[in-house]
Symmetry: C2
Subunit: 242 residues, 2 copies
């Protein structure tokens, strides 16, 4: 079996290598990459059947890598291995996983034996193995009432990038009122109306626009990685627009 390990932290990479060697006894060809780009290069050079991906890597994130890999071979089994169970990541992944693909999601904090079981499950038994903590977030993020729709998420992104209503309207090709309407739905979904406790005499405490970003970030709906990614997309769009 050919296994690709993409992880920027030296220690974790070595650890993964050790565990994989221990669990996957049959003849194993392993390649390590300390960056998303070199992982992709290695894969395009000669495909792998199994991949372990860290999600947070500089430049090219794990989600990007997975997307490109699955675009070519949906049969490749991928085990995601991440620090956090941020909704930003979960959303990114569930958007790109092909219906028939096999994958796993394990947090770095889980004990070693569960990691071993995940490796076996995904790479040998063709099962999807997802940590309980992650599963909880995933559940919530596919729930009709508490989760954001794609449109609302788009609005959140534009908002967090600092765009004006007008700019959002232009970017998403809707009217000004349309953009504002999406924002309104977003505010509602994030529960901004309830949390606003007007204390004393100085009226409403929170500005919906900025408060939305605040709760989105502390909920892990958005993180610095995702923001940088979206910023790049925005710049690309701006350039094309000129």
């Amino acid at each position: 079996m050919r296994l690709l390990i993409a992880e920027d932290d030296k220690l974790h990479r070595a650890f993964l290598k050790g565990v994989a060697e221990e669990v996957l006894t049959d003849d194993l060809e392993m390649v390590e990459a300390e960056d998303g780009q070199v992982a992709l290069d290695a894969f395009l050079d000669a495909p792998f059947e199994a991949v372990i991906l860290d999600l947070q890597m500089p430049h090219v994130t794990g989600v990007d890598v997975a997307k490109r890999i699955w675009a070519r071979h949906t049969s490749t089994r991928i085990l995601f291995w991440s620090n956090y169970a941020d909704e930003a990541y979960i959303r990114g992944i569930t958007r790109i996983v092909p219906p028939e693909a096999v994958y796993g999601y394990v947090l770095k904090t889980t004990p070693e034996d569960r990691l071993k079981m995940a490796i076996q499950g995904v790479f040998q038994a063709d099962q999807c193995v997802i940590d309980r903590e992650v599963r909880g977030v995933q559940q919530r993020s596919s729930d009709r009432v508490s989760s954001l729709t794609d449109l609302e998420y788009e609005a959140l992104v534009d908002l967090s990038l600092g765009l004006t209503d007008k700019a959002m309207a232009a970017r998403r090709r809707v009217s000004l009122r349309g953009a504002q309407s999406r924002l309104q739905h977003l505010y509602q979904k994030l529960g901004l109306d309830k949390s606003d406790i007007p204390v004393g005499d100085w009226g409403p405490s929170f500005n919906s626009r900025t408060r939305a970003i605040s709760v989105a970030i502390s909920r892990g709906l958005l993180n610095a990685d995702a923001l940088r990614q979206e910023e790049a997309d925005l710049q690309a769009w701006l350039k094309k627009k000129i």
Copy 2:
């Protein structure tokens, strides 16, 4: 020598322990903590002369721990050990380090030999050892023109928490116009005026208020940890205010 290691990641903790044992040959008493709170408890139980602190830990961050430690013993030498060189961390640390204290700041990505040198430098030679990458950020964050003053930083925090101008004014005990004025300075410092390229006919692209948060986050001036911390402070203030 008594050494306390606070780090939530198992692998990194074990690694640190190994390196420390190797470098500090004289008789060594080591205690490990996987959380800021237990680290603090251990320290209050019996002080340490040397501490290695991860900055990002759940609940009680490394900066918090350092603050409490130095409040009791300024002679304790602390080595910070972190994933990122975010200005949010740097600022947090430089605010609390006593003038005579000895400390170090090493990134997790630096090679092992440099970590060893840092451990020796800080714990045995009483030198301050700071990684080059970190030093760069530190420089910038104490520069008069590009860095934020404390007032501007306060404004950034309030802004990112989602407060209105009025609420900021109440919290910081200034007039409404005063709060707005601080915001204005903040916007200027973040360079929001220059980056606003009005493209085509749909006018200004960016909303200063939200754009400020965006650039602050992507610059690492603010991160999710710091935000959660400040959110707690805000809630405490709100409670007291009622």
